[in-house]
C-alpha cells in the first residue's frame, strides 16, 4: 500500500464512480429472483426495486451515497504484518488474500473515509462483505482504530457500517484480539463525548457483533439484515430444532430491544444526518439545496446528493 493506492486511486474512483463495468449486465435478486439491470440496481443502491431486498453494497458505493456530493477522502489505515501465523488450510492465507484483492479491487475488508454528511463533518468506516466475508483481522481492527482516532482529532462523529461473517480465522488469536482493540477505539469516542452510530448490515455476526457493532450510541440496521453472535446453523445444531421465521433478522432484533431502528438504505443518509446534527447540538438541517462543501477535500466536483452515478464518457 503506497500513496498511489491510498490516495490517487480512491480519488479517481470516487470521481468516476465504479471503475469496472460489471461483466454480467444482469444480476439476479437474492431475495425474489427478479433479473435486474446492473445500472438500475446500482442506482437503487443495490436494493431490489421489486422486493426491497437489500443486497451487499461495496464500501465506495456506500460512501458515495452517504457523504455530501458523494465526496470523501480516504483515511489512511496502517497495514499490519501480513499473515502473522503463516496460516494454511487447504489454501494459503496469502493466496486467499491475493484472490480477494483481485476480486474486489480493494486492499482489505474495511474502508475508512471522511467528508460531510448533511453539512456536518463526519468519519465513516464500511466493511466489505465481498472481501473474505468482511472478516475482522488486524487490518479491520486498525481501520476501526484509525477511524476513531480521526473522529476524535476532528471532533466529529463516527459511523460504522458493519458486514462480516465474524473474525478472520486465518489470523487466529490476533483476530480475536480485535474485539478488545476495537472496543478501545469506541472508548476513545465515548470519552471524547463524540457520537458513535453503528449501522448493522447483512450479515453482521460473531466477534464483530460482539464488539464495536453492538456498542453504538445509536443502533441502526438495514431491513432484513442477519444480526447475531452464533449463526442460525450453529444454533440449530445445538438445540436440534428449527428456528422461527425471521429469527435474528433486523426486525426481530428491533422487537427484542437490541436496535433503535431499522432504516432502508435509501433513507439511511438522511436519518444519519439528522442524528448527527442532534447529537452534535447543531441547528436543524436547511432543506432544499445544501451549500457546496467548503473546499472539497480532493478538489473533486461536488455534485448533488445522493448517490450520483456519473457515467463514463
Amino acid at each position: 500500500m503506497n500513496w498511489i493506492s491510498n490516495y490517487i486511486k480512491p480519488s479517481i474512483n470516487s470521481l468516476f464512480s465504479r471503475r469496472e463495468v460489471p461483466e454480467n449486465l444482469w444480476r439476479k435478486c437474492d431475495g425474489c429472483g427478479t433479473m435486474l439491470f446492473h445500472r438500475e440496481l446500482a442506482e437503487n443502491l443495490n436494493v431490489c426495486p421489486s422486493c426491497n431486498h437489500h443486497m451487499p453494497i461495496a464500501p465506495r458505493a456506500r460512501f458515495e451515497s452517504l457523504f455530501d456530493g458523494g465526496v470523501f477522502v480516504p483515511v489512511e489505515v496502517p497495514d499490519p504484518l501480513p499473515d502473522p501465523l503463516g496460516f494454511r488450510d487447504q489454501k494459503r492465507y496469502s493466496d486467499r488474500m491475493r484472490e480477494a484483492r483481485r476480486k474486489t479491487g480493494e486492499h482489505e475488508a474495511m474502508l475508512v473515509g471522511e467528508g460531510r454528511i448533511g453539512g456536518a463533518p463526519a468519519v465513516a468506516a464500511a466493511q466489505d462483505f465481498a472481501f473474505m466475508g468482511g472478516s475482522m483481522g488486524m487490518y479491520v481492527g486498525n481501520a476501526v482504530i484509525a477511524a476513531a482516532e480521526r473522529a476524535v482529532s476532528r471532533r466529529c462523529p463516527l459511523v460504522i457500517f458493519s458486514a462480516a461473517g465474524g473474525a478472520r480465522m486465518q489470523e487466529g488469536i490476533l483476530s480475536l484480539m480485535q474485539m478488545p482493540r476495537t472496543t478501545v477505539a469506541i472508548r476513545m469516542l465515548r470519552e471524547a463525548r463524540l457520537p458513535f452510530i453503528s449501522v448493522l448490515t447483512n450479515p453482521t455476526t460473531g466477534g464483530v457483533t460482539a464488539s464495536y457493532a453492538m456498542l453504538g450510541d445509536v443502533q441502526i440496521a438495514e431491513p432484513g439484515a442477519l444480526i447475531c453472535f452464533a449463526g442460525p446453523r450453529v444454533i440449530e445444531q445445538t438445540i436440534r430444532e428449527k428456528l422461527p421465521e425471521g429469527f435474528q433478522r433486523a426486525e426481530y432484533l428491533l422487537e427484542h430491544g437490541m436496535l433503535d431502528m431499522v432504516v432502508p438504505r435509501r433513507e439511511m443518509r438522511d436519518r444519519i444526518a439528522t442524528l448527527i446534527r442532534l447529537m452534535m447540538r447543531q441547528p436543524p438541517r436547511s432543506h432544499g439545496d445544501l451549500p457546496q462543501p467548503e473546499a472539497a477535500p480532493d478538489g473533486g466536483a461536488a455534485q448533488d446528493a445522493p448517490a450520483p452515478k456519473a457515467e463514463r464518457p
Partner: protein
C-alpha cells in the same frame, strides 16, 4: 480412577500392569513383586514425561478439556478465603456457567469471576458445561463495576468452550452482553488479572480475559474458534481438527510469542489433571506475582497501559 486420553494408551497399559501385579501380590503374600512394579512405575513416569514434553496442539486441546483438571470452584476453594458468591444480572436470571463473588486473595479483598464447567453429569448440566448466556456476562460486568467502585482488584479464571449458542441467549443479546463486558474490562481502573486454566473459547473467553496481565496454564489453549469449528468451515470436514489446531496457533507457547499473553504457568508432569493441588498452588503464586506487578499503579495509568497493551497487539508475528 484415572481418565486416560487416547494418546496416553501406552501409559495406561503400563500403569495397569503395575496395578495388576500389586493386587496379585496382595492376595498372595508370599509373592514379592515390588521390584517389578517399581520398574513399571519408573517406565510409566518416563513415558509420561516424554508424552507431555511434546504434546501437539490438538493433544493440548484434549488436555485443556480434560474432565479431571481443576476447575474454577477448586481454585476458589483453595486460593481464596471468605468467598461470598454474588448472583444475578439484575435483568433476567442467574447464570450458573459463571461463578462470581467477593473474596480475599492473600488477605486482600478482591472480586473473583470464573467460568464453571462442572465435574459430573449433573453439575455439568447445571453449569451448562461452562457456556455462559448473556446473563453471565452481564453479571460479570456488574461485578467489575462494583469492584471498581470499591477499589477491589478483579481476578478472572477463564475456562469455556465458548458463549452458549442457544435461541434464548441470542434473543437476549449474547453479542451485546459480550461487547459490554469487554468494554467494562477496558473502562475500570482497578487491576485485572486473568488466568486461562483450561479452554479459552473465543468471544466467551475474551469478555473475561481483557486484563492487565494474562497468564495461561502450560497446556491450556486460547483460540478464536474451536479446532472442530475451524476445520468444518475451512476444510469442510470437522474431522480435520488436528490440522486446524496446528494452523490456529492456539497454544500458550505460541500466544506468549505473539505477545497476547504475559506468562505461562508450568503444569506438573502429566498435566494439571494429574496433580491438582500442585497446579492450584502454582496458579495462586502466579496470580500473586502478577497482581503485585500492577497494584502500585494509579488507576488511570493502569487503565491507559491496559488499553495500550491491546492496541499494540499484532506487532509480533510467528511466521
Amino acid at each position: 480412577m484415572q481418565n486416560y486420553l487416547d494418546f496416553e494408551k501406552g501409559l495406561s497399559e503400563i500403569e495397569g500392569k503395575a496395578q495388576e501385579l500389586r493386587s496379585l501380590a496382595q492376595r498372595n503374600p508370599a509373592m514379592n513383586v515390588e521390584r517389578e512394579a517399581a520398574a513399571l512405575d519408573e517406565k510409566a513416569r518416563e513415558l509420561l514425561r516424554e508424552i507431555y514434553s511434546r504434546l501437539d496442539p490438538w493433544q493440548k486441546c484434549q488436555v485443556a478439556r480434560h474432565p479431571d483438571r481443576p476447575h474454577t470452584r477448586d481454585y476458589v476453594a483453595a486460593l481464596f478465603t471468605e468467598f461470598t458468591p454474588l448472583a444475578g444480572d439484575r435483568c433476567f436470571a442467574e447464570d450458573h456457567a459463571v461463578t462470581a463473588g467477593m473474596a480475599r486473595f492473600e488477605d486482600r479483598p478482591v472480586v473473583v469471576i470464573g467460568h464453571e464447567r462442572g465435574h459430573d453429569t449433573r453439575s455439568r448440566l447445571h453449569h451448562n458445561f461452562g457456556m455462559a448466556r448473556p446473563e453471565g456476562y452481564r453479571k460479570a460486568a456488574r461485578l467489575m463495576e462494583l469492584a471498581d467502585r470499591f477499589g477491589l482488584p478483579v481476578i478472572t479464571l477463564v475456562d469455556t468452550p465458548g458463549a452458549y449458542p442457544g435461541k434464548g441467549a441470542e434473543e437476549r443479546g449474547q453479542a451485546e452482553a459480550i461487547a459490554r463486558c469487554t468494554e467494562r474490562c477496558l473502562s475500570i481502573g482497578v487491576p485485572i488479572v486473568s488466568v486461562v486454566i483450561g479452554e479459552g473459547g473465543s468471544g466467551g473467553a475474551v469478555a473475561l480475559a481483557t486484563a492487565d496481565r494474562i497468564a495461561m496454564l502450560e497446556h491450556s489453549v486460547y483460540s478464536v474458534i474451536s479446532p472442530e469449528g475451524c476445520a468444518s468451515i475451512l476444510w469442510k470436514d470437522a474431522e480435520r481438527m488436528r490440522e486446524a489446531a496446528v494452523a490456529l496457533r492456539l497454544t500458550a507457547q505460541d500466544l506468549l510469542k505473539l505477545g497476547v499473553i504475559d506468562r505461562i504457568i508450568p503444569e506438573p508432569v502429566g498435566g494439571a489433571q494429574r496433580n491438582r493441588e500442585e497446579t492450584i498452588a502454582r496458579v495462586g503464586k502466579a496470580i500473586g506475582t502478577l497482581l503485585r506487578e500492577i497494584e502500585g499503579m494509579k488507576p488511570a495509568a493502569r487503565l491507559a497501559a491496559r488499553r495500550r497493551k491491546f492496541l499494540q497487539m499484532g506487532a509480533k508475528a510467528l511466521a
